[in-house]
């Protein structure tokens, strides 16, 4: 079940096959390793690129490698027409850095650091971090257990109207091989 249109699936296939080496293209179900996926322009600068690959990867050792189906799942969850439940579910999994099913202090600290900067002079001080995470938990931890579980997260997300439009990724058309329908886009 996918939220992508036929055009988007074809574009995704084209971009995916561009990532494959020559001999891998004949493989029935090729699996692309994470560092190759991260060369895509749409993912290269994303602060959560590694977590996104790890969440959507179906390999046994969760090393972040993606097959074409995983790639489609990724794009489908990030597309315009995906529902709020799907997006909040995947957002929760992406923010859950230790994969334990809840967002505890460590996960939230890593989340804030991801979004504010990794270097020493751009991080928040530990006092500010503590204050910030305590504010976050005040707002969203309804059952006061010190962690944010999936339903509390979805509750907070449902009150944030900007989330659906910001949790989105679009593949760009490749520069020199523009399909005819894209040309129509430009002129209509």
């Amino acid at each position: 079940m996918t939220f992508l249109t036929k055009q988007e699936i074809l574009l995704a296939h084209r971009r995916f096959t561009e990532l494959l080496e020559g001999d891998e293209r004949n493989h029935p179900n090729p699996r692309v390793p994470m560092d190759v996926i991260l060369t895509l322009t749409e993912l290269k600068s994303n602060p959560f690129k590694k977590r996104i690959c790890q969440v959507f990867s179906t390999s046994e050792n969760r090393d972040g490698s993606l097959t074409f189906e995983d790639f489609l799942d990724l794009l489908s969850a990030f597309s315009d027409s995906a529902t709020l439940e799907i997006k909040s579910h995947y957002a929760f999994r992406i923010f859950d850095f230790d994969d334990d099913g809840t967002l505890d202090y460590g996960d939230l600290e890593k989340l804030v650091n991801c979004l504010t900067g990794e270097t020493a002079d751009t991080r928040l001080s530990s006092e500010e971090m503590r204050q910030l995470i305590s504010n976050i938990l005040d707002e969203s931890d309804i059952d006061k257990d010190g962690t944010v579980n999936l339903s509390e997260f979805q509750h907070v997300i449902s009150r944030s109207p900007d989330f659906v439009s910001s949790f989105a990724l679009f593949l760009f058309y490749p520069v020199f091989s523009v399909p005819n329908d894209a040309i129509l886009h430009c002129f209509i």
Partner: protein, 571 residues
């Protein structure tokens, strides 16, 4: 091996019992239904993908949204929406009013000594005065053809149905936007979760991502310190704060009122001078005021310190709206009161005045883009690097297009083909702003609140701008006497009386007396409106009490969740 058809034929020829034959029939019907469903589904998909290809500017909007965020995208979405309004208006007006006129050749003849010069494009007078552009050229006859097509009724109903439809669309989108972004949204303005969850995953530019991270960090720090700041102000500081607020509000209202008065004075002095180029003076002054005075408002804003950034934006918006409404109000007052007495054929005069306003406004929008964005970029990067690259001022630009659309809405009654100019204007404006944005501006420093700003913009579009335009058109058709010599309503006491005459006509000719009864006792009676208003007020009060009850229920449920989790903690 036999082919499929042969096999089916052979199976058919086998002797089967009646029940089995019935089974076959059921199976056949089921297969047919399945095939039909599948082809319908395929048809639905192809319609959906065709619709996607035909959607105007979709690729450009995705690109803008990815690079600049959804607050800037709101401007372009609103621009596209207003363009669709104008396209619909043009189709409706052209189809129902202008085409019958052209086909039956009922328009006024052009006087032989007026030819087309270039100046008409700017002033709208001269040669254009005698074309189908303005109200004056439309006829009041009834075309007898296959059906009796009454031009008066056509004109009146086309305009009023279009305005009512616009109003309904605006009300519905305003209500749904309000529900999504205010009622269900988090009331806290920059809570940490809102900032974290509004991270835009579609940004692909490395520099933009770093900038966003920077801005987010600043905003998070601000949200932490805001609470502390609020508790730290002493009484004397608070008094000083209130003094500054009072002073700047007084100044802004004074500026707006002063602009209105000066426009009125200018109009009374120059309307009598009918030399064509001089009629451009008033639109020029109006647009100049609209461009310069908001700069003063931004200056006042810098001196005041509002507790939250949202209040600052709202204050600035309110002042700009006040300025534009006072200028528009003065202009409409002049058009409704003084112009009908001065001219015999006054509606085309108002139409021309609006045409001039629209054209000059367009020129100033282009100039504003040049000064506001291009020059600021040059100054910010080369001459005074401290200022930096300018940001795209969403609020100011949105207010400009709302004002432009209000002019078009007022003008539809007086000049049915004004939407054509508006379509061209918005089309060119889209590409101009897109180019200016990508070359001259940087992404906004503060993220978030895009959805709430969208609600505010739609609300502003509806009230006071659309409501104002609708009331001007309603006042014109209700109270003002149409001109005697020209236009579709010549000779009548008021435009609205066409409906009265039509109802009488219907009443007398056919046996549908209930139509007349409904018109007299329901639409024209005051007691009906009084009773319905009373009932609606009672219903609103009941819903309001329901909402209060629900709020209390939410508080109780939250307490219950905490109790449950304390008593039986999860494993």
């Amino acid at each position: 091996a036999l082919s499929t058809t042969e096999q089916i034929r052979k199976i058919r020829e086998l002797p089967v019992s009646f029940e089995e034959k019935k089974h076959d029939v059921y199976l056949c019907v089921l297969l047919c239904c399945l095939l039909l469903l599948q082809s319908m589904r395929r048809f639905g998909y192809s319609i959906k993908s065709a619709r996607q290809t035909l959607q105007l500017w979709q690729g450009i909007m995705k690109e803008i949204g990815g690079k600049f965020g959804s607050s800037v995208l709101n401007y372009f979405v609103l621009l596209k929406w207003l363009l669709l309004f104008n396209i619909f208006s043009f189709l409706v007006n052209f189809g129902f009013i202008t085409i019958p006129l052209l086909v039956y050749d009922l328009s006024l003849n052009v006087s032989p000594n007026v030819s087309f010069r270039g100046l008409e494009l700017l002033t709208g007078a001269g040669y254009f005065n005698y074309t189908i552009m303005y109200y004056g050229s439309y006829s009041n006859e009834t075309i007898r053809g296959l059906v009796d097509y009454d031009m008066q009724l056509a004109y009146f109903f086309t305009i009023s149905v279009y305005m009512v439809l616009c109003g309904l669309v605006l009300i519905f989108s305003m209500a749904s936007s309000f529900k999504k972004n205010y009622a269900l949204a988090d009331p806290a303005s920059n809570s940490a979760w809102q900032l974290l969850c509004s991270w835009d995953f579609s940004i692909t530019n490395e520099k933009a991502v770093n900038q966003r991270k920077n801005n987010l960090r600043i905003q998070l720090k601000e949200s932490l310190s805001e609470k502390a700041h609020r508790e730290r102000q002493t009484t004397s500081e608070q008094l000083k704060q209130y003094g500054i607020y009072f002073g700047s509000w007084l100044l802004s209202t004074g500026l707006a009122a002063g602009c209105g008065a000066s426009i009125f004075y200018l109009y009374t002095e120059t309307w009598s001078a009918l030399k064509e180029a001089e009629t451009l003076l008033v639109p020029f002054v109006v647009s100049l005021m609209n461009m310069v005075i908001p700069l003063f408002f931004s200056l006042f804003n810098k001196f005041e310190q509002y507790s939250s950034q949202r209040k600052q934006i709202y204050a600035l918006l309110f002042r700009n709206v006040l300025l534009r409404i006072s200028i528009l109000g003065v202009l409409c007052y002049y058009w409704m009161n003084t112009v009908p007495q001065k001219f015999t054929c006054w509606e085309p005069m108002v139409g021309q005045a609006l045409y001039r306003l629209v054209i000059v406004d367009f020129i100033f929008l282009m100039l504003g883009s040049l000064f506001g964005e291009f020059l600021s970029n040059v100054i910010g990067t080369k001459i005074q690097p401290r200022l930096g690259v300018p940001e795209f001022d969403v609020a100011r630009n949105v207010l400009e297009i709302i004002y432009a659309q209000t002019l078009a809405w007022i003008g539809i009654y007086f000049s049915p083909l004004l939407p054509v100019i508006q379509i061209l204007k918005f089309f060119i404006l889209f590409y101009l702003k897109k180019v200016s944005l990508t070359h001259n501006c940087q992404p906004p420093r503060r993220s978030g609140r895009a959805a709430q700003m969208k609600t505010i913009f739609i609300f502003l579009l509806f009230f006071p701008f659309f409501v104002g335009a609708l009331s001007i058109v309603a006042y014109t058709s209700w109270r003002l006497t149409p001109s005697e010599q020209c236009g579709p309503f010549r000779g009548l006491n008021s435009t609205f009386s066409v409906t009265g005459e039509w109802i009488d006509h219907v009443n007398n000719n056919s046996s549908n007396h209930w139509v007349g009864w409904i018109y007299q006792n329901v639409i024209r009676s005051e007691i009906f409106y009084f009773l319905s208003t009373l009932i609606i007020l009672v219903i609103i009060y009941i819903f309001w009490q329901l909402i209060q009850g629900r709020k209390q229920l939410i508080v109780l449920l939250r307490r219950q969740i905490i109790n449950v989790s304390l008593n039986c903690p999860p494993e």
